[in-house]
Subunit: 141 residues, 2 copies
């Protein structure tokens, strides 16, 4: 993508493919999701169903908010709540053949945006870092 | 900044001023830092000293890693560790008169970058969102 003009770049040129994206399943308990988020270091990851369709995203803040009691963090609750009960579902998505500018608009309010096919199967994610790296190489071209 | 050309825009045109930035102090216990991060929803925030100089940044992952034991999250440890013991200090900084392209380069690997003056006093932060919004308005200009 070094020599492609910014306007000709598609989402599939910049996205991280699904096999390289950390994710959790809708039926996982929150304890598992928090471990995946802490071990990977990511703020939030996609949530998939057993058929590999995208269902939402889940982040550390939502999980910690769920267990924040009056006096302390109630960690014992983590194993009783499933990811699908607290995940965020009102999220934008992109398709592989969307253009660079569609990615730019979607990433203004989200650190990453999920890429799905026409039936909703998960293809990967587009991140702000990938977009900014491309803008930098376009700047210096 | 709508009508300024991208190349003429400075960091001070886009940054969030210090009074609007959530932060913690070097001597705060981790419990306080985690509460600020959960209540604000931010992944990481700047760490300042009592004189308002920048000392580092702290995020949810570092705090949770610190208390992750073999069997469970050991929450009781949160009140025994100070922010300055675990904060990250190898972070880039910008100054108010740096240009747009300096901000772009710094933000490729960091969701936000702290802005400081020549003596290290904290002026604010430049975020990826502010940069992307300016790129979008330049795109449509
Ligand atoms: N292990 C690592 N190695 C190097 N740099 C790292 C890193 N983890 C985080 N970063 C840096 O920190 C930024 C913010 O990460 P965060 O986890 O908050 O937010 C991330 C995370 O929530 C998600 N993400 C990125 N890569 C992912 C992956 N492979 N699997 C699942 N989620 C991913 O997309 C968001 C934006 O990612 P982006 O790359 O634009 O921006 C990343 C990247 O610049
Ligand atoms: N309360 C809120 N209202 C609306 N949108 C929100 C929001 N909290 C987060 N977001 C959105 O999510 C992005 C990632 O936030 P995050 O907390 O991981 O990462 C944030 C956070 O660590 C820090 N940050 C942003 N504003 C801050 C502030 N006022 N005080 C302290 N830290 C801030 O800079 C990072 C990048 O911020 P950026 O704006 O580029 O990107 C933000 C923004 O697009």
């Amino acid at each position: 993508t070094q020599d492609k003009h910014l306007l000709d770049i598609t989402v599939s040129d910049l996205m991280i493919p699904s096999e390289k994206v950390a994710h959790v399943q809708i039926n996982n308990p929150l304890e598992h999701a928090l471990l995946v988020l802490v071990k990977s270091g990511y703020s939030a990851v996609p949530v998939l169903d057993p058929a590999y369709k995208l269902k939402g995203i889940i982040g550390k803040t939502v999980i910690l908010n769920e267990i924040l009691g009056l006096e302390r963090f109630e960690f014992e609750k983590l194993s009783d709540i499933a990811v699908q009960e607290v995940m965020r579902t009102d999220i934008p998505t992109l398709s592989t053949d969307d253009m660079f500018v569609d990615g730019l608009k979607a990433l203004i309010d989200f650190p990453f945006v999920c890429v799905v096919d026409k039936e909703g199967y998960f293809d990967g994610i587009l991140t702000r870092r990938a977009l900014l790296k491309q803008i930098r190489s376009d700047y210096y071209a």
